[in-house]
């Protein structure tokens, strides 16, 4: 049994009751303190009263009749105990609520820190000696739109992991196509949610989005204009969609080719944007120290980047839609599961890579 009087000194650290156990110990804590109504959870104040004579009215509980001590003695004690239990249980619930809230906040903070750590690791490979490293490196902390995106993306990944697990269970269980369809729709919509999030973030800072530092390193290595390459996606998925009729296989093959063509077109457009941007910035006399007109002209070009990111995401969304149009619910479900796990593997690879022991210098 836990010790009593020292139990509930408010913690300076967490604003909760000390000692605060780790997550795993929460259940022990709960059991010992919230569930045992026979054993009153004793506050400092009340423990004093327990030792005093029953003549004293202490005001913390209900009716305590001074004048009929003998008859009411047992009832008195019971009433007081019940009231103390209620009070203790209430306080316990509040503490638990506060504790869970703390956990949630810590979790979010941890995710944010992990993301920042990933970004910091990327900085070494991208920037190295750039004049304005501050801009790209700390946009997460100075740009509220990006900070929001990072947090939302963290949630998105968590939610995605849940959805994949649910989809896996659904596929291997006996549920019918209609029910499976609900999981499939949910999975598709989750990707569409991500594209919407990215569109908002692109307006906040398109370079941040294009730099891909918000993704894990392996994902980023394989990415194209801020996300997955649709044609590559199809290549990953196709084997998992079997068995396919010849017609379906042909359709998917054509889809893949169309994706490649569209990707090439967008890539060329982006190349042209590079050229134009470079020319715009380099325009006029380099070296005179006055370059406001060039910078102003270049701003317009940067706006075009937002459209490109949007176009790339639109291509991803259309690819997913086209895949689902050509397939049965079950096939689409398998496809989504394969896709989901593919990215999970990339994320796991990134973590492993990041935590590998560094060799000797």
């Amino acid at each position: 049994m836990n010790s009593t009087s020292t139990q509930f000194v408010p913690s300076r650290r967490m604003g909760l009751c000390e000692p605060m156990p780790q997550v795993g110990m929460w259940n022990d804590y709960k059991e010992n303190n919230c569930m045992h109504t026979s054993q009153p959870v004793i506050l400092e104040v009340d423990s004093r009263f327990d030792n005093q004579s029953e003549d004293t009215s202490h005001g913390t509980v209900g009716p305590s009749n001074k004048y009929d001590q003998e008859e009411n003695k047992p009832v008195d004690k019971v009433m007081r105990r019940l009231a103390q239990n209620r009070e203790a249980a209430r306080k316990c619930r509040l503490r638990k609520k506060a504790y869970v809230q703390q956990l949630e906040n810590s979790k979010l903070r941890l995710m944010q820190l992990e993301q920042e750590l990933e970004r910091a690791r990327h900085q070494g490979s991208y920037i190295g000696g750039g004049l304005d490293t501050g801009q790209l490196g700390y946009s997460g902390t100075t740009n509220p739109g990006i900070a929001t995106f990072e947090m939302e993306y963290g949630h998105w990944v968590e939610e995605q992991n849940k959805k994949i697990a649910d989809l896996r269970n659904a596929l291997y269980s006996d549920i019918g196509d209609v029910e499976l369809g609900i999981f499939v729709d949910g999975g598709m919509r989750h990707y569409f949610d991500l594209f919407a999030m990215k569109a908002t973030a692109a307006r906040a800072d398109v370079f941040y989005l294009m730099s891909g530092t918000w993704k894990t390193s392996a994902e980023h290595f394989l990415s194209w204009i801020g996300g997955f390459r649709p044609s590559e996606l199809l290549k990953v998925l196709m084997p998992h969609l079997e068995p396919l009729t010849e017609q379906r296989r042909l359709e998917l093959s054509n889809l893949r080719q169309s994706c490649q063509q569209a990707e090439d077109a967008l890539s060329q457009g982006l190349e042209k944007l590079h050229q134009i941007l470079s020319e715009t910035v380099a325009d006029g006399q380099l070296g005179e120290g006055n370059y406001l007109p060039q910078i102003s002209a270049a701003m317009e070009k940067l706006e075009a980047m937002v459209r490109f990111v949007g176009q790339a995401d639109h291509l991803r969304q259309e690819t997913l839609l086209q895949i689902s149009r050509n397939l049965t619910t079950r096939q689409t479900a398998r496809g989504l599961l394969a896709l989901g796990e593919y990215f999970q593997r990339l994320r796991a690879l990134s973590s492993l890579w990041a935590s590998r022991p560094r060799g000797s210098a």
Binding site: L255, D264, R307
Partner: protein
């Protein structure tokens, strides 16, 4: 607008574009990949450019440029072209014009 109607009905496949617009360039590249030679009208080089832009939005071209017409009909901007292409419909629409390249 008369100019727009004339151009779109005369040219089988045409793109209203701006010389500085890189998405317009991307759509142009896509058509080239599909062995089409579209007629590209750079409206920033056209004195009637502003008029054309207004006319295009009146005709239902929701977004910014490019505005793509096939056989005199407005197809749309980049989004529409990409969607059509992925569904396989774009190639069907372009078939009559493919041999001209």
């Amino acid at each position: 607008m008369e100019k727009v109607r004339k151009l779109t009905s005369e040219k089988g496949v045409m793109i209203f574009s701006k010389s500085t617009c890189c998405l317009c360039y991307a759509v142009h590249m896509l058509f080239q990949e599909l062995r089409i030679k579209p007629y590209v009208h750079e409206i920033d080089h056209d004195p009637d450019g502003k008029e054309i832009e207004k006319a295009l939005s009146r005709m239902g071209c929701s977004g910014p440029l490019p505005a793509v017409f096939i056989g005199g009909e407005l197809v749309g901007s980049t989004n529409e072209v990409m969607s059509l292409h992925l569904s396989g419909s774009l190639v069907q629409l372009l078939k009559p014009y493919q041999n001209l390249s």
